[in-house]
């Protein structure tokens, strides 16, 4: 069981002596095993929120609770993956994905044994001993996500993991991610710019406002699972898409 609560988190920076708000009173409750997306215009504080949840930066106010325990400013409680794959170019794919285990003190040999079947099952069989520069963008993202999975935390933060991929690869990766989510029963918090992606993947979607970042709305997605390309043409899907497009359009208009 894992339940993530973000309680009234705000983050202010000082810019030219003036306090500037990057995130205003974010209040979120993510239940165990849910797939939750955050969508909003760029500069809406999504990444700030993720850095706070991952314990990499200190919120100006508020707290982060995991299963009721305060984890504010503590790193290492959740898995975190950024848009860039951030694989170490001097390590093979296998040695890249075990780095979290290594840090935890698992002997290299044991970590490799644990990682090998995982790479094989999730589309990286045959690439274990290649270096990252031999792999395509989609493959590298897979390796990055497997690294996060091997770190074995119940909550995983994904910050636009497919943002740099082309449309075809993206669709493929979305299905791959859903499969992994289904196999491992993780709780996923997912940031994206892409409305289709958010609806296709999520159980619920938080819409953020333009700077200062603030939660504007929370939308439940009740499309049946498993989802497939057909889901994209579903009436319910299109209704949600229209709703979100209007909402984000309003946001853009108000900021101009």
């Amino acid at each position: 069981m894992s339940e993530l609560k973000i309680v009234n988190c705000s983050k202010y920076y000082k810019k030219n002596g003036e306090p500037m708000c990057a995130l205003e009173e974010a209040d979120m409750h993510v239940e165990n095993g849910r797939f939750v997306s955050i969508i909003g215009p760029s500069g809406c504080g999504k990444s700030t929120l993720f850095n706070i949840v991952a314990g990499l930066i200190r919120p100006s106010s508020g707290e982060v609770l995991l299963d009721g325990e305060d984890i504010t400013c503590e790193s290492g409680h959740v898995g975190y993956m950024l848009q860039k794959d951030l694989l170490l170019p001097w390590r093979s794919i296998l040695d890249n994905v075990i780095i979290g285990l290594e840090i935890r003190g698992v002997p290299k040999k044991k970590a490799r044994e644990q990682a090998l079947p995982m790479l094989k099952n999730y589309g990286l069989g045959g690439f274990e001993y290649d270096h990252p520069d031999a792999l395509s963008g989609g493959m590298r993202q897979r390796a990055g996500l497997i690294r996060t999975l091997l770190y074995d935390k119940d909550v995983i933060l994904l910050d636009e993991p497919f943002g740099a991929l082309d449309a075809q690869t993206r669709m493929q990766m979305q299905n791959w991610l859903l499969q992994i989510w289904n196999d491992f029963k993780k709780t996923i918090l997912f940031v994206t710019h892409d409305i289709d992606e958010a609806i296709y993947l999520s159980d619920e979607i938080y819409v953020f406002t333009q700077r200062p970042g603030k939660i504007k709305a929370k939308i439940e997605v009740e499309l049946p699972r498993p989802r497939s390309e057909k889901t994209l043409m579903d009436d319910q899907f299109l209704t949600l898409k229209r709703e979100l497009l209007l909402m984000l359009g309003e946001e853009r208009a108000s900021s101009e």
């Binding site: 990499l56 898995g79 170019p89 780095i99 840090i103 935890r104 270096h131």
Partner: protein, 273 residues
């Protein structure tokens, strides 16, 4: 014009064959050029177009060199010079690398010492040689220290640049996986800086040699530098040439040594492993 296909046969090109061929022919060419230079040198000094008093000649150099090995102290001198060069190179490069890496640990410390590092780099270290010889004597130590001073700052600056090139996102990724600073240092900072330090190995080995030779010029009882200086003073120009040739060979050997070291350190960094 590429050849037209005849009878629909298939042509499969293998670029590696052309590469091997090129490499082999280049090697033969290189040897040939060397032989021609030596031949003309010998020939021109024989017929008197080049004054053999100044230019010596390859055969004389070999002959004098052989005498210096069998009856003189050329081999001991060579050991002395190469020993102090290599020791100074290792101490200076390793010391500089550690110094450069240390800047990663504290931004404050790095800010404070950066200008001093640049200032120290600007000092012509060779000009300090007379002082160093007075301080450390005319023996082995003063040469090692000169080679050390010549190399340490180059290595420190290279490592420092490497440290500044560490991707902060990689650091962030590791910390999100529960890493402490020492993990980041071992798993990201050191591997990132290795190509930077490797890129200055060849520069440093020649700087170390220059430092040693100058040290021997100033004052020494042994070494190739001392031999050259002595030979020059008694107008034994053939022996000067022997010294120069021996130093050239030493320098080529050390260059090959660093190239090998480079290869070892950079192993496994390309996808074609």
């Amino acid at each position: 014009m590429p050849e037209k296909l005849k009878n629909k046969e298939m042509i499969i090109e293998d670029p590696s064959v052309a590469q091997t061929k090129l490499r082999r022919r280049a090697f033969v060419g290189q040897i040939l050029v060397g032989v021609i230079i030596v031949f003309f040198w010998e020939f021109l000094t024989r017929i008197g177009w080049l004054d053999s008093y100044y230019w010596s000649s390859p055969s004389t150099i070999v002959r004098i060199g052989w005498t210096a090995i069998t009856q003189g102290t050329l081999l001991q001198d060579l050991a002395y010079t190469s020993g102090s060069t290599i020791l100074g190179f290792i101490l200076g490069t390793a010391g500089g690398y550690v110094l450069g890496l240390s800047f990663w640990w504290s931004a404050l410390y790095s800010r404070i010492f950066e200008p001093y590092m640049i200032a120290f780099n600007a000092i012509p270290k060779l000009a300090l040689a007379p002082v160093l010889v007075i301080m450390f004597g005319i023996g082995f130590d003063s040469k090692v220290i000169l080679a050390f001073l010549m190399t340490i700052i180059v290595a420190a600056i290279a490592a420092h640049s490497g440290v500044q090139n560490v991707d902060p996102d990689l650091e962030k990724m590791l910390i999100s996986l529960g890493a402490k600073r020492r993990h980041v240092f071992m798993k990201v900072v050191i591997p990132t800086t290795i190509p930077w330090i490797v890129s200055i190995l060849k520069i440093n080995i020649s700087l170390a040699l220059a430092g040693t030779i100058v040290g021997e010029f100033i004052s020494s009882r042994q070494g190739i530098g001392r031999m050259i200086l002595y030979a020059g003073q008694v107008l034994n120009i053939d022996l000067v040439w022997v010294g120069v040739m021996v130093l050239s060979i030493l320098s080529v050997v050390m260059y090959l040594g660093t190239a090998w070291l480079e290869h070892v350190l950079m192993k496994g960094r390309t996808s074609k492993s």
